[in-house]
Amino acid sequence: MPSTKKIKIAFLTIFSFLIAGWAFSGNMTGVRGDTVVDAATTVAPEAAATPGGDYVGSEACQACHEDQFKNFTPTKHAKLKEVASWKNKVVGCESCHGPGKAHLEDATDLTKIISFKGMTSKQTSESCLACHSGKESHNNFRRGEHWRNDVGCTDCHSPHGSPLKDTQAGSITFPGETSKQNAGIATVALLKQSEPQLCMSCHTETKSQFSKPFHHKVMEGTMTCSSCHNAHGGFEAKQAKLAVGADASCVKCHSNKQGPFAFEHAPLKTEGCAACHTPHGSSNAKMLTRSTVRQMCLECHSAITDQIETPGVPTFHNQTTVRYQNCTVCHTAIHGSNSSNRFLRP
């Protein structure tokens, strides 16, 4: 572990970055809102710009863009104008689409307004991130799996608010999608669809996994994909979330597996739960990756390889004898033990 001195140095370094950033900010005055809009090249977020001048207000857009205005009005984006700290900033349509005066005067010339129709996912996302990147969960979106594969904010979100469909008859087991008569998180989070349907529309293979006999209850609505994954990036593999500081997201709910144990089953913390379990679902009990316990154990605890802290199964565990074929009958505390270095008791 780093000494206190090292931690102090780390924080001092971060502080130095802050100071350096502050110093830079004097010259690199690219803080949002102060930049001139160039609709032809990049998207210039306007959220912090001062209203007036070429800004005409969202109501001016209503006359031509009635449907969008109707969907947009109940959203949080629209209601920002009522927040005291946003009073002197551009909000509403022009916060993303830029000043509307020129467009109002000549609606035929589309270069006079920022339109997202011809933009790439990344360009559109840059516009959203101008306001939304301050949160820890969003900060690393530019380096996450979705960004890397050019999946942008508007692939999942509908910033104007989604025009919802009528409720349809659906399963008697799995909750339905958000609809006009059936409100859901998609309504308030400006998602195009509810989870998990939204995620499964690309990750189609996961639906089969969540339909296995043993699975996390995602289709049933008790969990969502975002219970474990951060769709906005993050620093973990597979965009997984962390829990309780820097632990795996599994221990958020499975708190008795988090340890620390006096005797750790080493893979639990170093390799992760997925070393033995398939978290989306499995035909095998306990969502294990193998159908028999001894197969799971013997594949790693094999006396032919020299993995660290992975002793081979002792020779007296004669596998032709029934009582040695189910390892966890004796090694009951397989996730870790405080009382036994061979996991014989909890």
Partner: protein, 714 residues
């Protein structure tokens, strides 16, 4: 009787076929009826107001019956749907229409599954713009697991490691001033409670005995933090603490002869308490800034310190394993105290430089370090009475330190060729070191004589890995997008032989979105090869090598089609093919050196098909029909020989079939009320252990009450 029922495969397949044909017929009829039905005149939305709030609400309450044949334990382990009252997919949305709400601007309450469902959840999202945002999520899972083909030395009637527990958990998060850019505050609370009976096993004189456990596990998290903007930087700081404890207790229902029929040991009484108490403190700091719209920087630091203390007290009486009937053990007392600590430091840095409007170069760096150190003191005293009194005391102490350190760096670039083509390429390097140290010390007192033996542990493993990543997104036409990416290299593998090591992952996804049709395909390939480190002195036979290989293939596609406003069809197919091969050493009596060298193979050949139809042939009646089947053919015709010196191989899979047709009819009986009639059928067929099979019939009726905006338009 039961097996005979399931042996009739032809009959079963014909019923599946009949079911599919029936669903297809329903779809066609619905299509025809819907095509002929006059388009209903849309009614203008009618707002229902609650004060100044616009209301949208629907609530479904119903009753489910259950008919079950076959293995109830397996049914409950898989599904656990019970008969009785249930709430389902209900919600209430209050939205401020105009003007300012007093307590909130929007409130969404959604709930599902309470009552006879095994899982239930209630979510509350409420917000007053500019003032606060509150999210609550309370969930309950009734978890049941009792499978006699799992964790038992011989096929018992039920599992010795059963669980019938209720897990209640939730998160409550409050953000104050959520839209304030300068500063906002967060407060959060989470909890977990697990209660209920469970089973485990314990050893006593070389035999294993089933023990009942009364499970009582708790954890509570409290976290506070602030986020804001300072000197142009977005920053956030949060501090959290988790308290966790385990107050489960073990006991014996009745005297037991144990699992080993040839062993004389008998357990007459058993009691175990093992209170575990722990705390986890964690601090997280993050910072972010985009400078001049060119340079994006983010950093995150996490420090956590988790500790636990426990004391195990166990008292047993019975007979030992001495022939012919065992000597009476008047008491066997075990006392173990332990403590462990795990401080962890993690630093993440991300940097993106937008070189041009089309080219970005990014670097992501992660440093992760933790140490687990813990130990215990073990004392066992047993007293026997057999003419003379024997007494023995064993004292051991042990200590372990696991030190983990990892650096991970990814540098990548992404380039936007034009509006339709984007590509990325990157390189990842990781370096990991794990050091395990510790000792095991045994001090045995036998009638006053002490023997001390100490075993020292000192292992170090260091590995560095490299990986290349690349991918593209192409839009051949406006509504068609193709993504592909590939990752090839090595991943960390220190402890497990099956995790990624030399791996190649490739995936391609295609999405077509037209107005009424969405068509998606995915193909994913994951190949992993793990050579492992040969153990010194072990010579393998020529037919066996050290290399573990794991090959995964996924092919998946689905179609979402709404040919008209009152009909939608959703269907899909997924195939998952898994083959895993691992050389293993199998302990077999009589083998040279005690081990026979063989291999372990695991197979999955899983087909999953679903077909859903929703139709509203008339304004007052709508239908839903669905058919889902998961069919894993496992290893197919490959035999699983009994392990022996001649065949020291483990060849397994879990071939099974689970199908569930479902049907619901919805009758609109008034402006605000729908009457639902539904039926769901589950048929589980286990190809290897037919006593696991079950069938369940789940008829269902409910009322769904709509209230508020658009209620009449459904």
């Amino acid at each position: 009787m039961e097996n005979a029922l399931y042996d009739n495969r032809g009959d079963r397949h014909s019923r599946i076929l009949t079911g599919l044909v029936a669903i297809a017929a329903i779809a066609l009829v619905a299509l025809g009826v819907a095509a002929q039905a006059p388009t209903p005149t849309p009614l203008p939305p009618t707002d229902v107001m609650f004060g100044s709030y616009k209301v949208t609400s629907s609530t479904e309450v119903g009753w489910r019956w259950r008919g079950l044949s076959g293995n109830e334990n397996k049914y409950r382990s898989d599904l656990n749907y019970k008969p009785g009252f249930r709430t389902f997919d209900s919600n209430l949305l209050l939205e401020r229409d105009s003007g300012k709400g007093k307590a909130f601007d929007s409130l969404l309450l959604s709930t599902s599954g309470w009552g006879s469902d095994p899982t239930g959840s209630t979510r509350l999202n409420m917000e007053k713009i500019g003032f606060y945002k509150f999210n609550a999520n309370i969930r309950r899972v009734n978890y049941f697991n009792n499978l006699y083909n799992f964790v038992n030395p011989v096929p018992f009637a039920s599992s010795e490691h059963f669980q019938d527990i209720r897990h209640t958990f939730g998160d409550l998060d409050l953000t104050i001033l959520p839209q304030n850019e300068v500063i906002k505050f967060t407060v959060g609370l989470s909890f977990n409670n697990v209660r209920g009976p469970a089973g485990t096993t314990d050893r006593f004189f070389s035999d294993e005995f089933p023990i009942n456990i009364s499970t009582k596990i708790n954890s509570t998290d409290l976290r506070v933090g602030a986020e804001g903007k300072l000197l142009g930087f977005d920053w956030g700081l949060s501090q959290g603490v988790r308290w966790f404890d385990d107050r489960s207790q073990g006991s014996l229902a009745a005297a037991s002869q144990g699992n080993n029929p040839t062993n004389q040991a008998r357990l007459d009484t058993f009691s175990r308490t093992y209170p575990i108490d722990g705390k986890a403190y964690y601090t997280q700091f993050h910072i972010h800034r985009t400078i001049a719209e060119r340079l994006d920087f983010t950093g995150r630091g996490i420090y956590s310190n988790t500790s636990s203390q426990s004391r195990l007290d166990q008292l047993m009486t019975g007979r030992d394993n001495t022939n012919p009937v065992g000597i009476l053990v008047t008491s066997d007392v075990i006392n173990i105290t332990s403590n462990a600590k795990r401080p962890q430091t993690r630093v993440d840095l991300g940097l993106t430089y937008m070189v041009t409007d089309k080219l970005r170069i990014s670097n992501t760096f992660t440093f992760d370090q933790f140490t687990v150190n813990g130990g215990n003191n073990f004392q066992e005293v047993w007293t026997k009475a057999s003419g003379s009194t024997l007494k023995s005391t064993t004292i051991t102490s042990a200590y372990r330190v696991n030190n983990f350190k990892r650096y991970l760096n990814t540098i990548e670039g992404d380039y936007q060729f034009n509006k339709t083509v984007a590509a990325h390429i990157g390189y990842r390097y990781s370096h990991r070191q794990i050091v395990d140290t510790g000792f095991d010390r045994t001090c045995t007192f036998t009638t006053g004589v002490c023997n001390t033996a100490t075993t020292l542990i000192n292992e170090t493993e260091t590995n560095s890995t490299n990986a290349l990543i690349a991918g593209m997104k192409i839009k051949p036409v406006k509504n068609w997008t193709v993504f592909w990416d590939i990752e090839h290299g090595q991943a960390d593998n220190v402890f497990t032989r099956l995790e990624n090591y030399r791996y190649t992952n490739f995936r391609v996804r295609s999405r077509v979105n037209l107005n009424e049709v969405s068509l998606n395909f995915s193909a994913i390939s994951k190949d992993n090869e793990n050579p492992s480190l040969p153990r010194a002195g072990v010579v393998l036979p020529g037919t066996v090598n050290y290399i573990t290989t794991v090959n995964n293939r996924f092919f998946s596609g689905d179609l979402d089609w709404s040919p008209m406003h009152n009909l939608s069809i959703n269907t899909g197919y997924t195939y998952h093919r898994l083959t895993s091969y691992t050389p293993i050493a199998v302990p077999i009596s009589g083998a040279p050196g005690g081990y026979a060298f063989g291999f372990s193979e695991y197979f999955m050949r899983d087909h999953y098909v679903f077909f859903d139809v929703s139709a509203r042939p008339t304004d007052r009646v709508s239908f839903y029909a669905s058919y889902r089947i998961s069919l894993d053919k496992g290893q197919g015709d490959i035999p699983s020989p009994v392990i022996s010196l001649a065949t020291p191989n483990l060849i397994t899979s879990y071939p099974m079939q689970m199908q569930s047709p479902e049907f619901r009819a919805v009758f609109k009986i008034s402006r605000n009320v729908d009457w639902n009639v539904g039926y769901q059928y589950y048929d589980y067929h286990d190809s290897q252990t037919r006593s696991m099979n079950y069938r369940s019939h789940l008829p269902y009726t409910s009322l769904r009450i709509y209230f508020g905006r658009d209620a009449a338009q459904r």
